[in-house]
Amino acid sequence: MKVYSRFMESLRSSRFTVSGEIDPPKDANPAEVVEQVEALREHVVAANVTDNPIGDVIMCTLATCVIMQQHGLEPIYQATCRDRNRIALQSDVIGAAALGIRNVLALTGDHPRMGKSRDAKPVFDLDSVLLTRTLSTLRSGRNLSGEELARAPEFHIGVGLSPGVEPIEAEIIKLEKKIEAGAEFVQTQCIYDEKVMERLREETSHLDVPILPGIAPLRSLGMAKFMLANVPGISIPDEVMRRLESTRDLKETAIDIAAELVSAAKDYGFPGVHIMPVGMHMHVGEIIERSGVR
């Protein structure tokens, strides 16, 4: 299997691989992307670019990816099925590949009712399994209409996983289908509970695909409560809540907790982590350093 990206090269090596995440701005200011890129560049191999989470309009994934490339950080292009049918999705990722994007993450996408564009038409022509297979088909040199592509797009295909949801068996079955459809790496929804990490390890031990647990620093008790209420399948141990409650230095505690989770991911045998800094881009380096994984 060919390696097209630094990210995949790292996953295939024995190195502990850390991916990050860029939050595109709502406006047309590339400097906001550049700032995040500069904070992450020395610490992560590549970084995801979100596709209008909860349907709130932000700078498009493709433009953000290109700005990242111009500033020396490898993008992982997140494609969701929410706003684009199979025509637009194929067209976009072919264009992304032409611009040198070498990692694509296939997601279902949030329902538009979740955010500020609640009246928008939900598309979902494909789902994450079918988008994964579509990416594989394109990479094999054909499009969904069966036409041959003289030059097939070259990218690696990733998928998401929500490790805390119930029933987990249904989630794992879906992951197995994504792997059958061509998924080469997995990044998970954020995990705060080592028990969830342990269960994830057990539930996926039969699968031969690198899984990067998602880690998002908890900037405040308020954020922790928000995550508990709004992110499906999230559990945050009482002890973590207590630390956030009693700390005198939230930033330090947030970095510590995240670093411990990175370290736990390594101990459980995961080949890396996916860090979603949610505004703490400047501290990703510190999280990794304190985790001791390098």
Partner: protein, 236 residues
Amino acid sequence: MIHTRHKPLEEILQMLSGATKVAVLGCGGCVAFYRTGGAAQVRELAEKLGEHLQVVSLGVSNRQCYLCREEELSGLGDAERIRKIARELEGFERLEEVEAVLSLACGVGVQNLAGLLELPVYPAQNTLFMGRRRVEGDFDIELCVGCGDCVLGYTGGICPVTRCSKSLMNGPCGGVFNGLCEVSRATGEEIPCAWVEIYRRLKKLGRLEELRRIREPRSHAASGIPRRVKVQEGAG
């Protein structure tokens, strides 16, 4: 059956503006059963409208989606046509004065009626969905979108096209929490995740292998255009 909901009175009056004498016609089908467009609702609406314009005739027709054969109406004027299709009708003697007809039928009924009359026909209701009367709980629920490519045979008799907010084909999305659809968090309603229900049902039936198979993307080739079916010889 078809579920409907009354339009706001202001919208109805807006549509009817220009007409001073109207007929209000309920439907004897689904909306009569669900009590959104039967005799009592026609009377209620006529009373409200009466404050703004003249309701010269009111009543309930046969199912407006199937009123009668067109040939039975040939040569008749609108007033006679309305008399012929109505089951119960008040003020029929003044039908000639009517300038517009307000129908409490679903969108199918309104269109059918509009096609049979010269008079303008307006909808008094928004047509919501095909569903069933509640079995338990407080809600009637949508069960079928008429997608034209039924998958119920693979999904334990639970339709993901209709009952998954994203019409997904290959299992639950990552938004499911406590067995509920992620949209529940936005709407405050408890919308069950169709795929959790499908998973549980298939597991109970010992048919989880159905869930393990990658299901093809749905074809919109047939449903993305106005659909029709050829009428069978001898049918109604």
